[in-house]
């Protein structure tokens, strides 16, 4: 009986428990802060790309608008000079700083 027990014991000992990973090593080989860092890098890249594309698209639209405006103005200038002057005067109100205020720098300079 005892001999049988020894035989079975030896047989059982032939089965080796599966090896475990080293102590203190996380299961997938990466620490959690590394995963967070990688995730943050991906988010920053996505935001950066999105911002760049948006800015690029805006500049493109602005360029196209300016080009079409220049063509239009050239055409007006060639056809009707008065209309062109009037147009520039009107536009200058929108573009140049107003000198309506009493203490505006432009008004002070104009007086001088």
């Amino acid at each position: 009986m005892e001999q049988q027990g020894d035989k079975l014991e030896r047989y059982l000992a032939e089965f080796q428990p599966r090896a475990v990973r080293k102590l203190g090593v996380s299961p997938k080989g990466g620490h959690s802060w590394q995963r967070w860092l990688a995730a943050a890098a991906v988010v920053v890249c996505c935001l950066g790309t999105g911002y760049w594309q948006m800015r690029h698209a805006r500049l493109k639209v602005k360029g196209m608008q300016l080009k079409s405006q220049t063509l239009l103005l050239t055409r007006i200038a060639m056809r009707d000079e008065k209309m062109f002057d009037q147009f520039l005067t009107d536009r200058s109100h929108n573009v140049l700083p107003s000198c309506q205020g009493e203490k505006s720098t432009l008004r002070v300079l104009a007086k001088e």
């Binding site: 049988q4 059982l12 000992a13 089965f15 080796q16 428990p17 102590l23 203190g24 299961p27």
Partner: protein, 170 residues
């Protein structure tokens, strides 16, 4: 396994690491017997040893038996905490054998799982942790005769479950 340590001591880092290297695999298999899959069993064993390393747990005079008990408790806690999760089929074996086929390995695993707790503890401590029955009796504060009969009953059950392959002369 009844363990009521009268005196507790803090293990040195070196001794904890040595215990892990020597018995980590057997402890993971033991945690699998408590119903965990291998990955969770590995995590549980790591947690127990990391607590020992950090000094959050003080081992008893018989550290190995204490660690077995800690692993069992941690495994049961893990099962309780994750019982709502979908269970993954336990197909990955946690024992290996040079010549035996997968079916034999799985039948040993099932047989170990079906053993009563005390008998299973005796088998693990004796076969895969290399303790003598006398040492097991001292570590678990159980009479030697009780340990011996638990071990004998366990072997009988394993023999009947494993069938003739366990009887071959080696």
């Amino acid at each position: 396994m009844r363990l009521l340590p009268l005196e507790t001591t803090k293990l040195t880092t070196e001794s904890v690491k040595k215990l892990y290297e020597k018995h980590g695999a057997a402890l993971a298999a033991y945690a699998c017997c408590c119903g965990l899959d291998f990955a969770s069993a590995e995590d549980v064993v790591q947690q127990v040893f990391l607590k020992l390393l950090q000094g959050k747990a003080a081992a008893a005079q018989a550290p190995l038996a204490y660690i077995y008990r800690s692993v069992r408790n941690a495994s049961l806690n893990h099962r309780r905490d994750h019982q709502r999760e979908t269970e993954v089929p336990r197909s990955k074996p946690w024992f290996t054998h040079a010549t035996a086929d997968r079916a034999t390995v799985l039948s040993l695993q099932n047989a170990l799982r079906e053993l009563p707790e005390e008998q299973r503890d005796a088998v693990f401590l004796r076969v895969w942790s290399g303790m003598t029955l006398q040492e097991i009796a001292e570590a678990t504060e159980t009479p030697l005769n009780t340990v011996a009969s638990r071990y004998r009953y366990a072997l009988d059950k394993l023999r009947s479950q494993l069938g003739p392959s366990s009887e071959k002369e080696r």
